[in-house]
């Protein structure tokens, strides 16, 4: 989008429900009402950044851009399967699988 477009930050309950769905959060009605007001306040405050002239300014996602990201692809010791599964709420440990509720048609 163009920075010159006004960004509406007056949130509605429907906006909060849409965001909650994206974030995989099932909020109670009380939480929806509270967050609608609080998030609107925070976003209204954060809108001040939109007034700053940033034309031609690169983004800093990360402060050390020249980072080595590759290494030799050599096998190394890793976490044993039983350790990796030891905290699972519903592990099928003998099959080394995590059990979850129905994925399709549920």
């Amino acid at each position: 989008m163009n920075y010159d477009d006004p960004v509406p930050t007056t949130l509605t309950i429907a906006d909060v429900e849409r965001i909650a769905a994206l974030a995989q959060l099932e909020l109670t009605d009380a939480e929806k009402h509270l967050f609608t007001k609080q998030l609107a306040d925070i976003l209204a405050y954060a809108e001040q950044v939109q007034a700053i002239d940033t034309s031609g300014v690169p983004a800093t996602a990360y402060v050390h851009p020249a980072q080595r990201t590759e290494r030799e692809d050599e096998p190394r010791p890793c976490l044993p399967v039983e350790d990796a599964m030891s905290n699972a709420p519903d592990a099928a440990s003998d099959a080394a699988l995590f059990r979850v509720p129905r994925v399709i048609g549920g």
Binding site: D15, I42, V57, T60, H64, N87, P101
Partner: protein, 487 residues
């Protein structure tokens, strides 16, 4: 005399010389925790048996003439968002209330290799999200200087534990001030290293481009000793720097007559409590009297650091915390047995507290279609402008000084209903994280009510040595760090 009234450095020397045993020191620490923790709620977990066993091992090795390293027998408290293998690590969240890490954080491995004895895991804001320690699923930490006050956050338990003489040193994590701000509130030293100086492997991720682990101590020298142990490249964290790690303790010469201290007059001119301002001005005067030169600097974008920080950190948090879904580890809701999607959303609603949900929601919003450019990308561009401000400042100055927190520690409950007001308490600390720079908070006074006040020094990227040298020189000619809360 409580052996914990002394510093880690002295304690380590005493243990190495056999003047006191590691077990005696460890018992003293555990006794002290047992005495004060009911008032402070600083520890989520006390690892008494494991600590005693480690201390016995240190003593055996000393008698056998096998030195165990620079922290041999020194008790240390670890923030509960840092993994210790086999030890409950909850991030003060219901969603991880039963989580037992199957591996050690790199910092933990290095501390234990240096002989440090972990006495327990400290309370914090849930997933390190907060400025008051009131967002913990296990209740707030209380400030040792005044139990009705916040200890600061998010590493409030670590700061309170060090202030209350439960351990001479502790680890915290700092994403937007979470080491420096509680250090100021509790009257101790807290250091956030440069981004990449210390491995984040085994730190539960909040905002990965900002998070950094660092030490608390009652002296700058102790913070320097711990930093020397935990710093350095780690193959398990690709964001660690290959910069060599100097002996930070050796840098503490007490000399500052070659130092130019940058003072951002315009940035600190508004919104600072009078008592904090006076303590800060007095600290500057002390440094000047010791031979440092004060130079005015300008940080024109620093006033935008809080909104930029809350746009960036929440975006990163919304992504990092997607992993808590009730499948591989952590809490799973028992309410939703029939659909995976419902299990995810119920688990996350029941498992996360209000501030974590608020930040996940805000981060999801600013990353969502239609808002990404106007909020998230814009914030990253202003982050660049802020970095440039500091680059220019460090052409004129060797360190930058400002208050750590705009007010003395406020009352528990005072800001919990207004998240935005709470965020504004971070105005002086978030810049260091956005720019990746090291920062240290040092005690510099007390309010009329006897509440600690700290001031902050920031340094050039990877120049913790100069930063710590200035902080230590200040500490040598002041007495604030010697005062103890009467618990």
């Amino acid at each position: 005399m409580n052996p914990l009234d002394t510093t880690a450095t002295t304690l380590g020397n005493d243990i190495a010389a056999g003047r006191v045993s590691a077990v005696e020191v460890c018992r003293a620490a555990l006794d002290r925790i047992a005495t004060v923790n009911a008032s402070l709620n600083a520890f989520n977990l006390v690892a008494a048996d494991r600590a005693i066993a480690r201390a016995q091992e240190i003593d055996r090795r000393r008698v056998a003439g096998d030195p165990s390293g620079p922290l041999a027998g020194v008790p240390i408290a670890i923030k509960d968002n840092i993994d210790v293998r086999g030890m409950l690590t909850t991030a003060s969240s219901r969603i991880l209330r039963d989580f037992i890490p199957p591996y050690d954080a790199t910092v933990v491995r290095r501390l234990e290799a240096a002989g440090a004895v972990i006495v327990g895991k400290t309370n914090c804001d849930e997933f390190a999200m907060g400025s008051s320690n009131e967002n913990s699923a296990f209740g707030p930490v209380h400030n040792p200087w005044a139990l009705d006050r916040i200890p600061g956050g998010s590493s409030g338990g670590s700061a309170a534990a060090v202030a209350a003489r439960c351990a001479p040193v502790a680890l915290g994590s700092d994403t937007g001030g979470s080491i420096r701000q509680p250090a100021a509130c509790c009257g101790v030293v807290g250091l956030k290293p440069s981004y990449g100086r210390v491995s984040r492997y085994g730190l539960l991720a909040f905002a990965s481009s900002l998070d950094q682990i660092g030490p608390f101590g009652r002296t700058v020298a102790d913070a320097a000793t711990v930093l020397s142990v935990i710093a350095g490249e780690d193959p398990c964290d690709a964001t660690t720097s290959t910069e060599s790690v100097p002996d930070f303790s050796a840098a503490l010469t007490g000399r500052v007559n070659d130092i130019r201290v940058g003072v951002p007059r315009a940035f600190v001119s508004e919104g600072v409590d009078d008592q904090v301002r006076r303590a800060y001005e007095a600290a500057l005067e002390t440094l000047r009297a010791e031979g440092a030169t004060l130079v005015d600097i300008d940080l024109p974008h620093a006033k935008y650091a809080v909104p930029v920080y809350y746009l960036v950190c929440t975006a990163e948090a919304s992504s990092n915390l997607a992993r808590y879904d009730g499948v591989k580890y952590g809490y799973r809701s028992s309410a939703a047995k029939d659909s995976l999607k419902e299990m995810y959303s119920r688990t996350r609603d029941e498992g996360f507290g209000p501030e974590v949900k608020r930040r996940i929601m805000l981060g999801t919003y600013v990353l969502s279609a239609g808002y990404y450019d106007a909020f998230y990308l814009k914030a990253l561009q202003v982050r660049t402008l802020l970095r440039r401000d500091y680059d220019q400042a460090f052409e004129r100055a060797d360190v930058v000084a400002m208050p750590t927190m705009p007010t003395p520690p406020f009352r528990l409950g005072e800001k919990t209903d207004d998240p935005l007001q709470m965020y504004l308490a971070d105005v002086f600390t978030v810049s260091a994280n956005l720019a990746g720079l090291p920062g240290v908070s040092v005690p510099c006074g007390f309010s009329n009510e006897g509440l600690p006040i700290g001031f902050q020094l920031m340094g050039r990227m990877f120049d913790e040595a100069t930063l710590l040298r200035v902080a230590d020189a200040y500490e040598r000619v002041t007495e604030w760090h010697r005062k103890a809360p009467s618990l």
